[in-house]
């Protein structure tokens, strides 16, 4: 039988961990990323300051842990009647995520921070939330049997335009525009042999 020996001493408190994640979630919405501080998080979570630093090295790291699961869930779209609808639904979910959702607010804060802090950039590179969600939609669709070598470019062409408009212009997407974007995207994909 396998004996998994626990490390000596008092084990990590799951209560403290959850309290911190919860605090970060709440504070992001209530005060915004910039106003969030390690000190503030600890106080809000009623947790020692050292406890926070022991398990996370920055507020970005906590935020990633606190929102990654939500992000993936919110970007999942159910199968639809046809590919155009599926793509449209994905774009709708993407836009809603980026403009309305708490997890999306966290994601934007993290992408923003990544432009200032190389460590956060590396953290984010490990989990391409948007890309993964797009890929899972594209792969599921039966309209194209094989994953193509240009998948990354394809994903970028799907996700990029929406992300650009929202990040740089706080764009509020409407369903019609997104359906149009989906159509145009599919036109290009359909005639990809033009490459």
């Amino acid at each position: 039988m396998v004996e998994i020996t626990r490390p000596l001493g008092r084990p990590r408190s799951e209560d403290a961990r959850l309290a911190v994640l919860r605090a970060v979630d709440d504070m992001l919405v209530e005060e915004g990323y910039a106003a969030m501080t390690m000190k503030g998080i600890a106080e809000r979570a009623r947790v020692g300051r050292q406890t926070v630093y022991r398990w996370w090295s920055s507020k970005a790291e906590i935020l990633l842990e606190a929102s990654a699961a939500d992000a993936a869930r919110e970007l999942t779209v159910p199968p639809g009647p046809d590919i155009e609808t599926e793509i449209t639904e994905f774009l709708v979910a993407l836009a809603a995520f980026l403009t309305d959702s708490d997890a999306g607010l966290a994601y934007r804060a993290l992408v923003g921070e990544a432009q200032h802090d190389q460590k956060v950039a590396e953290l984010l590179r490990g989990t391409d939330v948007l890309g993964d969600a797009a890929r899972s939609v594209l792969r599921r669709s039966e309209w194209r049997a094989v994953a193509r070598p240009e998948e990354d470019a394809s994903v970028a062409e799907l996700v990029g335009p929406v992300l650009y408009r929202i990040l740089t212009a706080d764009w509020r997407a409407d369903r019609d525009s997104l359906r149009t974007m989906a159509k145009r995207y599919l036109v290009r994909e359909g005639s990809a042999d033009a490459t």
Copy 2:
């Protein structure tokens, strides 16, 4: 006849203004956006701290003033033999701007900061550097006589994919990939009537 009366008191020092802009330019490259402080800028520019605060309200504002002109210049591409080449050259310039140029570093820092600070977001909304550059390329091209209503979407489909890959994955673009992206972009534009 119109009499333009100067405001009372000692006029603003152009020397101080330029010293600050210069300092911010240098410090961004040498130390990075996050390490830059208002205090540091003032000291580097050998300027009083109050003088900085008198004319700019944040380092983002200074950075924007310091880099906007450079950004616009670096994103300008000369007319080419055909539309595909022009688009490709624009994408090359865009990718180089975002990954290698100092002004591009500034732009990425500003877009990042905009995700944390509403004030910066509004500043950026006033000057769509990337979009304007793209628009000027698209409009110049004679391949389509009329400006199209979906111009914003079109611009986003051109700029977005590159921006997405660079912001979220520190992508290093090669000319071939960009030429391919340009071709695919043109395919979609060409059959836009499919909408």
Copy 3:
């Protein structure tokens, strides 16, 4: 005949001078010495900052000019029926000056500042407001024909006790105590031959 040639250029503005003195007077009462600033004085007097610095080098200097005349006037006591009454009246005037009068407030501020600033100490040494007032009372009195060599000590014994209690303990003198002090002072002076 003597020709007094005025210096070239615009002459000093008496309006500005009075406005500054007036402002300092008012501000001392309203805000206190510590809260008074050269900048604040200039603004209150609606006068340029340079104008203040041109004629005075510190707020202490302005305050001295603004209050010296008042101080001398308030410490003058009319001749009385006998020496005890005269001394008592002087002590009453002295205590009232130090605890209630605006000029006395200024004097205390200046003596205070003199402990921090050698320049103010020298300014004050030039005008011994309290001592001069005391001397003029003592000399006037016919009870002793000649000015005695220990006049300085005598003045100190008259003024010092009151000043000490007010400066260090914010003492509020009553007339009875002051009369008692006057009597005790005279007893000592009367038997000064005991020296």
Copy 4:
């Protein structure tokens, strides 16, 4: 049994406390009260700025804590052969304290500051260094069995004249003058019944 529970968290650092007091002591002599700043004190003591503000609210408060003990010690005079000698020795100690001692320099700065700042005035009222020293000399002397109701006045008549001459005129006392002042003081005290 009484359980004294220490307050939570890291206890106050005695090292930091002493370093601050030491720094203030040194800086007062080297730079003077006016040139001393909270920032400078912290840096000199190699202590965080917040640590200074946590325990003291002004440089006056630190100075008082740093010099009160020295002041009391320096103003203590040993019993002498007769009352006149004791009083003279006290006046000598008082004059030396006010003109030569570091603690006396601190005291003068504090009395000065008290004229500008009500808070400092209250601090000083809590510890009448000069008066206490005088009282302990007067009470020790057996020349008068009972403590007299006019003790405060008596103390003021002893301390005041010296303080006045030093504060307002930077007087340098010589032993002979002080012995004369002591004699005159005793004459008055001896015939106090004249009241």
